[in-house]
């Protein structure tokens, strides 16, 4: 009887699994339960660095995400931008992922409007150029080489904020929000070749890869996925923003996946014994 049940469980139609995981993710979104978020040192160090900068300091915030990864990285990028703008830190942004150019431009425009920031004085959007590896290297020589003009067709020399800003040595640090393996290019080229202090905000899928660079101090901070975004939102005093709200769904879905793993294993061992 029991073995028959486990056999059934083992051969469960995958669509039941889909249904359960969909429901486990969806329904918590309709609730107002908010769970406490614990801040990790790697996210704290990104925040601390930006928090310590005097007003008017320029940082670089290259954003390389597209619609497929925006759910994870858009909240993170917006949180970092809000932190910068609220502290009067100026931001140079690029979008070296072609599918995300318009999305990033919109995000930048939206957050800048929230803080009443002026384009060219408080922030600059260089836009897109293909082959990030090469572009990152050439920006290390001079921003004007790969980007003679910004996204809006202005010469960089016409933008007040860019006066005297030539390369990475003129920005305090780089906080790269990235969904691709292009992160390696920032580590290799911006940090490796030009010594630019670098922090990363990456998707959870690739986050674990960069702990080795955190330990070797090639990067000074690391934000991983929606959890990293939620931590940053909390640090800047916006615990009701999107990433924090999503953590309840993430928690429930994780629990259900763990339950699935347990059931799958019980079913596997219960039926294997009989064979």
């Amino acid at each position: 009887m029991a073995a028959g049940f486990w056999n059934k469980m083992l051969n469960l139609d995958r669509r039941w699994v889909y249904l359960v995981i969909g429901a486990a993710t969806f329904f918590p979104m309709l609730t107002v339960i908010r769970l406490p978020i614990k801040i990790t040192p790697e996210v704290q160090s990104v925040y601390d660095r930006l928090e310590s900068l005097p007003r008017g300091t320029i940082i670089m915030l290259p954003m390389e995400y597209s619609p497929d990864t925006m759910a994870e990285l858009q909240p993170m990028a917006k949180a970092v931008l809000r932190h910068c703008f609220s502290r009067g830190i100026k931001v140079i942004t690029t979008a070296l992922q072609i599918q995300g150019v318009l999305l990033i431009e919109q995000d930048l425009r939206t957050v800048a409007a929230e803080f009443d920031k002026t384009y060219g004085e408080d922030y600059v959007f260089l836009g897109y150029k293909p082959y990030p590896d090469i572009v990152i290297l050439n920006m290390g020589e001079n921003f004007r080489k790969p980007f003679p003009k910004d996204y809006y067709n202005n010469n960089l020399d016409e933008l007040p904020m860019m006066a005297g800003v030539n390369n990475y040595s003129n920005v305090d640090c780089i906080v790269n929000i990235n969904a691709t393996s292009g992160v390696d290019s920032w580590i290799n080229n911006a940090n490796g070749r030009y010594g630019a202090p670098l922090a990363l905000g990456v998707t959870a899928v690739i986050a674990t890869d960069y702990y080795a660079f955190l330990q070797s101090k090639q990067i000074f901070g690391l934000m991983g996925g929606l959890k990293g975004a939620a931590e940053y939102e909390k640090l800047i005093g916006r615990p009701k923003d999107i990433a924090n709200r999503a953590m309840t769904s993430v928690s429930v879905a994780h629990i259900f996946i763990i339950i699935f793993i347990i059931i799958g294993n019980i079913a596997f061992f219960a039926t294997r014994k009989r064979i």
Binding site: T25, M29, A71, I98, I187, N189, V205, Q215, S216
Partner: protein, 250 residues
């Protein structure tokens, strides 16, 4: 949610229809899914062309080329210098155009030239940088001082013995040993020029254990990543339903 215009609502409905078309694949393959899939390939390609043209080709190639041609009509500057600038601006485009010879079988071999240029530059750039960032810096970070590790563990053990707390140093010390051993053994696992027996075999075994723990951590994080993407889509659908409700006062 603020009131939105009918135009935005229609666009949101299109987006919701496409979202549900893709989700329908979960039940089984169907024409709605295939339509959305093929639509997006075409839209993406068109989008790429427009973005590449406006944000890259124009300011990096076309405008400098036009400027260097019009410089011949302007006063000042020597002719050889103007020719030099023109050639410098023209050449990359000409080399790039050679790529199109791929579409003509008898001349396809010419497309190897731009590929060779791109490959040469990429390989030359990568050679020193990968050695520096991925090998030297990583190996250097693995060079723990055994005396420091020993002292940390011993001092923490004594603190633990006398005061009954503070295990952090011990765990950090052990952790440093794990990094050193795990990394060396992981590399031993990837060393295929000798049979994995004896000391190398034991090291490779520890190496694969370490790698498995690392992959497990990646899997754990990957689950979070995928769930986050699903949350993003559900958020959109909730917004769409709210917008519909608001618009029609439901």
């Amino acid at each position: 949610m603020e009131q939105i215009s009918l135009g935005t609502l229609i666009w949101m409905t299109v987006a919701a229809f496409l979202t549900l078309s893709i989700f329908s694949f979960l039940y089984r393959d169907n024409p709605f899914y295939r339509f959305a899939e093929h639509l997006i390939v075409g839209i993406s390609a068109g989008y790429w062309i427009a973005i590449l043209y406006h944000t890259s080709l124009t300011d990096l190639w076309i405008e400098p080329l036009v400027d260097s041609v019009s410089a011949f009509g302007a006063a000042g500057g020597s002719i050889p210098a103007k020719i030099g600038i023109l050639l410098a601006n023209l050449t990359p485009g000409v080399i790039g155009c050679l790529m199109f010879t791929r579409f003509f079988k008898s001349k396809a071999w010419i497309s190897r030239w731009p590929i060779a240029y791109y490959l040469g530059i990429s390989a030359g750039v990568a050679l020193p940088l990968y050695i520096q960032s991925f090998v030297i810096r990583q190996v250097a970070a693995n060079m723990f001082n055994p005396v420091i590790i020993y002292n940390t563990i011993v001092s923490d053990l004594s603190t633990l013995y006398y005061y009954g707390n503070s295990m952090m140093g011990i765990w950090t010390g052990i952790g440093d040993i794990i990094i050193l051993l795990g990394c060396v053994c992981g590399l031993a696992y990837f060393y295929f020029s000798a049979e994995h027996t004896g000391v190398l075999g034991a090291a490779a075994k520890i190496g694969i254990w370490t790698l498995m723990i690392g992959f497990g951590a990646t899997f754990g994080y990957t689950v979070m990543a995928r769930i986050s993407l699903l949350i993003g889509r559900f958020n959109f659908l909730i917004d769409w339903v709210s917008a519909l409700g608001n618009y029609f006062n439901l």
